[in-house]
Symmetry: C2
Subunit: 183 residues, 2 copies
């Protein structure tokens, strides 16, 4: 059925990833947890862990053809053995963002905020995967997942700083930054 | 939780709508049923009826600002007392469609196929609501729902004919046309 659904399960006892830190960038915090497991799920609640966030992979929404080709050419897959660090960044955007039309969002996303262009600068060091949560009644609109080698964490910080200073981020009203290390 | 999810339940015994006909326009047929009920659902299967299709309402994906404003100004709500006829048209699009980028899909959808422009011609006679199904592992990508007075069914046929002759419809590989009457 829905093989594009994944559960991100925070737990205090065990998991595939050890949580190094949970920082609330904006909005309401989430409960603490020591470990995270990501597993393929379905449309039903995982019912596991201290908290559980659900998201689904979908088609790309903003990248245009040249950007899409560039992304495909340069991006790294998840699960590289050297990528022992990861970040899970759930974000929610404002009602004002969702009231915009697709082209208005695209203009802010890329023409003004250079989202894909910024992301491309850090490929292939930073592998990433987007999960959608807005349409399925979750507390966040997106779960963004990143994997990288420990020596690339400074690059990852630079990537985040660039995005958080962009116009697009004026539309983010809840953001949690969870840093992890593979167990 | 997810109050944007709806189940379309086909049943042989009763329902809010009597099914007048089920026509397979392209692709695999669906089982017959005599009645249809639409009810608010959640992410779990309805487990009801002979068959059950699930979809969710979401933000508009293609209309640009002037089209969106026009739609809002002209469109009719669901549930008008005179709109005793309805159509449920589940469609699936090809992998080639989903491999396109958003801007390429938009170009086919509107610049070449005039989808919104055609739809606007038949407002407010034909009320409609789009439900998304692709991301949730359903057999169709979209469930399109239309309500109109019986005297407007000829207009509805003209609307369908225009869309089915468009370039966009080259990317539709499964389409079922279910006509209904309010019980």
């Amino acid at each position: 059925m829905a093989d594009n659904f994944f559960d991100f399960i925070g737990d205090n006892n065990d998991g595939h990833w050890r949580i190094r830190s949970i920082s609330t960038i904006s909005g309401t915090p989430i409960p603490s947890a020591d470990f995270l497991t990501i597993q393929q799920g379905n449309l039903q609640p995982s019912g596991q862990g201290t908290w559980s966030l659900k998201g689904f992979r979908s088609n790309i929404r903003y990248a245009e053809r040249p950007e899409k080709e560039q992304l495909i050419a340069v991006q790294a897959p998840l699960g590289r053995s050297e990528a022992t660090y990861a970040a899970l960044i759930p974000i929610r955007k404002t009602a004002a963002w969702w009231d915009l039309t697709q082209e208005e969002r695209r203009a802010i996303f890329e023409k003004k905020s250079h989202h894909t262009e910024i992301g491309l600068r850090y490929l292939p060091a930073i592998a990433r995967q987007l999960y959608h949560s807005r349409d399925i009644g979750e507390p966040f609109d997106f779960l963004t997942w990143f994997e990288f080698a420990p020596e690339h964490e400074a690059q990852f910080e630079a990537l985040l700083m660039a995005l958080r200073q962009s116009e697009e981020w004026l539309y983010v009203d809840r953001e949690i930054d969870i840093r992890l290390e593979r167990v």
